[in-house]
C-alpha cells in the first residue's frame, strides 16, 4: 500500500461533519470562558489593542528576535482587527486545526478512529502547558504539524500542488524560531530523501524572517547557559522526566503544570498509552508503507531524545557547551517543546491500536465501545484543560492609563525610545489578578521600548541577551546619560513587584501620573539609537523572499495549473 492512499478515503454524508464538529467542540471546551472581549495576559502571551510595526518586530532592533516575524504579523493583523479578537482567533484556530489535522491524517475509514486521533493530539498536556505559559505561536505550529506531514506525504507521492500546500500549511508555524524548526523537520521527514533538497530549500526561505536576524544578531551567542538547567524538561510526578515527556508533559515551569499531571496513576496510564501506540504504529506502517511510518516514528523519537537530553548530566553539559559556543543554540534550552514531534506518532498509533483492538471484539458494540473509551482517555487524563484550565486563564481589559500613555508617546514627534521600570520583563498587576505576565509596554506603545530581559526563575537570575541593558542600567540615575543612550521616556509601571534600581533621574518631567502608570520625559534631546546589527537590507531581503514564496504558493494552489496535464490527472486518480 502506498503513502497517502488511505488518508484520501474520507468519510461521506453526515459522517464527514463528525470530525470538524469534534474539533470545534475541543476549541470551545477549552476556550469558552475566554472567548468574550478582552485580553488573555499570562506569562509570555501578550496582545494589545493595536500593535505597531517597529524595528524589533522584524529583528532589526536591539532585542534577540524571539517573536520575529510573529510581532510583525500581529502588527499587520491588528491594523485590520482589534488585538483581542486576533488573539482569540489564533488560539481557537490552533485548537481546531490541531484536532482536525490529526484526525484527517490517520489512515482509516473509521470516523471513530479519526476522533480518537484528534482528541489524543489536541487534548494533550503539551497543549495545556503551552497554552497556560502563553506560547500561542508554538500552539499554532503544533496545529500545523499534522497538515505539514500530510502534504509532505503527498509530495513524496508526487501529488500535484502538494508543494504549494506544504508551504501554505507551514506559514502559521514559522512565526517564531521553534515553530519553524518543528515545521521544517516535519516536512523533510514526511517528504522523504528524494524530495529533501526541494523541501530544505523551501523551508530555508520560509524561515528566513527569523533565521537571518537570529543568526546575525550580535547577541545571538550571548545566551546564558544557566538557562539550560532552568528551562529543562521536568518530571511532573513519581514517573521520571522521560515518562512525563512520553505523555507530552514536562514543561520546565511547574506553575503552569495542570493539577492532573500529579495524578498518581498517570505514569502507568501514560505507559499503557505508549504501549498501545507502539502496537498501532505497526498498523500505520501497513497502511502507509514502511518508509513514511518509519520517518514519523524516527521524528517522534528524535523529539523525545532532544527533549530529554538536558534531564541527564551529560546532556546538560552538552547543551551548556552548545549554548555557550554556538550562535542560535539557545533555542534548544526550553527542551520540552520538541516533544511536539512525538505527539503525532503517539496520537496516530493510539487511535489505530484502539481500532485494531475493537476489531478483535466480535460483538456489535465492542469496536464502538473501545473507540469511545479511547476517545475519552485523553480527556480523563487531563480534565483540567477544560474551561481555560478551570479558570486559570481569563480575559481582562487594559486600564485606561495604557491608552493615555500610548497617545502621549505617539503624539511626540521627537526621537528617543522608552525604558520601562521596574527593571524586569515580567509583571504582576492587580488588574490581571496578579497573574505573572510579560511587560505589555513593547506591544502597547508606538516606539521602541526597552525592558530588562533578565529572567528570575525560581528566584535565581538568568541573564538576558539585550546588549543595551547593561549600559542603560548603569546610566539610570543620570538623565543626560540616558538621553545619550537614546532614551526619552521612562515608564514607571506601578503596583507590580520589581527593582527600580535607582531613583527617577532629577530633571525628569512627569507627563502623566495615573493609578497604574507614571510617564516621565527626560530633559534634552535623545541621541538616535543605532543598534549594531546585521544589515537591514539583508534581513528585509529574507522577508521579501518568504513573502514571494508564500504568494507564489498561493497562486500555484489557487490557479488551475496542474489539472490540465493528462499525466497528472491520471496520477491523481491512482
Amino acid at each position: 500500500m502506498t503513502a497517502g492512499a488511505e488518508p484520501a478515503a474520507r468519510p461521506v454524508g453526515a459522517h464527514r461533519w463528525v470530525l470538524p464538529a469534534v474539533a470545534l467542540a475541543v476549541a470551545l471546551a477549552v476556550l469558552a470562558p475566554v472567548l468574550g472581549r478582552g485580553f488573555v495576559l499570562a506569562y509570555d502571551m501578550v496582545f494589545a489593542p493595536r500593535h505597531t510595526l517597529l524595528p524589533d518586530s522584524l529583528g532589526l532592533g536591539s532585542m534577540l528576535p524571539r517573536s520575529v516575524p510573529s510581532d510583525a504579523v500581529v502588527a499587520f493583523a491588528t491594523w485590520l482587527v482589534p488585538g483581542d479578537i486576533v488573539q482569540k482567533l489564533a488560539l481557537a484556530a490552533a485548537l481546531f486545526f490541531a484536532a482536525l489535522g490529526a484526525g484527517r491524517l490517520v489512515p482509516t475509514e473509521s470516523v471513530g478512529t479519526r476522533v480518537v486521533a484528534a482528541l489524543a493530539y489536541a487534548w494533550s498536556a503539551y497543549v495545556a502547558e503551552r497554552l497556560f505559559i502563553g506560547h500561542w505561536q508554538l500552539l499554532l505550529a503544533y496545529a500545523c504539524l499534522p497538515w505539514i506531514f500530510r502534504f509532505g506525504l503527498d509530495l513524496r507521492q508526487g501529488v500535484p500542488k502538494a508543494g504549494a500546500r506544504l508551504v501554505l500549511a507551514s506559514v502559521p508555524a514559522v512565526l517564531t524560531a521553534p515553530g519553524g524548526i518543528l515545521a521544517a523537520l516535519t516536512a523533510m521527514a514526511a517528504a522523504g530523501r528524494r524530495r529533501l533538497p526541494f523541501v530544505a530549500g523551501v523551508m530555508l526561505v520560509l524561515n528566513a524572517p527569523w533565521l537571518l536576524p537570529g543568526l546575525l544578531h550580535p547577541g545571538a551567542s550571548a545566551a546564558s547557559p544557566d538557562g539550560v538547567a532552568a528551562f529543562a524538561a521536568r518530571a511532573e510526578n513519581w514517573g521520571t522526566a522521560v515518562v512525563t515527556l512520553l505523555g507530552l508533559g514536562g514543561v520546565w515551569n511547574s506553575e503552569v503544570t495542570p493539577v492532573s499531571r500529579s495524578n498518581p496513576v498517570l505514569p502507568l496510564l501514560t505507559l499503557a498509552m505508549v504501549a498501545a501506540a507502539l502496537l498501532g504504529l505497526r498498523v500505520l506502517a501497513h497502511r502507509w508503507g514502511v518508509a513514511p511510518a518509519r520517518a514519523l516514528v524516527l521524528l517522534g523519537a528524535f523529539g523525545v531524545l532532544l527533549a530529554a537530553l538536558p534531564t541527564f548530566p551529560a546532556g546538560t553539559a552538552l547543551m551548556r557547551w552548545l549554548t555557550e559556543h554556538g550562535p542560535g543554540f539557545a533555542v534548544l534550552r526550553d527542551s520540552q517543546r520538541w516533544i511536539a514531534w512525538w505527539a503525532l506518532p503517539l496520537a496516530l498509533g493510539f487511535a489505530l491500536a484502539a481500532e485494531a483492538a475493537g476489531r478483535w471484539l466480535t460483538t456489535t458494540a465492542g469496536p464502538r465501545l473501545v473507540l469511545v473509551v479511547a476517545a475519552l482517555f485523553p480527556i480523563a487524563l487531563l480534565p483540567d484543560l477544560a474551561f481555560a484550565g478551570f479558570g486559570r486563564l481569563t480575559t481582562v481589559h487594559y486600564p485606561p492609563d495604557w491608552t493615555r500613555v500610548r497617545e502621549i508617546i505617539a503624539a511626540d514627534p521627537g526621537p528617543g525610545d522608552v525604558l520601562t521600570l521596574p527593571l524586569g520583563s515580567f509583571r504582576q498587576f492587580d488588574w490581571n489578578a496578579w497573574r505573572t505576565q510579560l511587560d505589555p509596554a513593547p506591544r502597547v506603545l508606538t516606539r521602541p521600548t526597552v525592558l530588562d530581559d533578565t529572567l528570575f526563575v525560581g528566584g535565581r537570575p538568568v541573564p538576558g541577551e539585550d546588549r543595551r541593558i547593561p549600559e542603560l542600567r548603569a546610566a539610570l540615575p543620570d538623565a543626560a546619560a540616558l538621553t545619550r543612550a537614546g532614551i526619552t521616556w521612562l515608564l514607571l509601571e506601578k503596583g507590580t513587584a520589581g527593582w527600580r534600581a535607582a531613583p527617577i533621574p532629577p530633571g525628569a518631567v512627569t507627563v502623566f501620573d495615573g493609578r497604574w502608570l507614571t510617564l516621565y520625559r527626560l530633559p534634552g534631546q535623545a541621541h538616535p539609537y543605532n543598534p549594531p546589527g546585521p544589515p537591514a537590507a539583508l534581513i528585509l531581503s529574507g522577508d521579501l523572499a518568504a513573502i514571494i514564496l508564500i504568494a507564489s504558493s498561493l497562486l500555484w494552489w489557487g490557479l488551475p495549473t496542474g489539472k490540465l496535464s493528462p499525466a497528472q490527472r491520471t496520477r491523481t486518480r491512482e
Binding site: 478483535w360 480523563a380 524586569g424 515580567f426 509583571r427 497573574r435 528570575f456 537570575p461 527593582w499
Partner: protein, 55 residues
C-alpha cells in the same frame, strides 16, 4: 485473546476515567478553582523582580 483485550481496555479505561473524574471533581470543589495565585498577597512595589516561574 478477546477476553484479554476486553479486560485490558476495561481496566485501563476504567482507571483513567475514575482518576479523571476524581481530579475534575476535586478541581471544581477547590476554593481557588486551580488558580495558582495567592490572592491575599499584597506586593511591595520594590521588593524584588517578578519570578517568571518555578522549575
Amino acid at each position: 485473546m478477546r477476553l484479554i483485550i476486553g479486560a485490558i481496555v476495561a481496566v485501563v479505561g476504567g482507571i483513567a476515567l475514575a482518576s479523571g473524574v476524581t481530579v475534575a471533581v476535586n478541581l471544581s470543589s477547590a476554593p481557588d478553582k486551580g488558580i495558582n495565585i495567592d490572592e491575599a498577597r499584597t506586593p511591595d512595589p520594590w521588593a524584588g523582580a517578578t519570578n517568571y516561574g518555578t522549575p
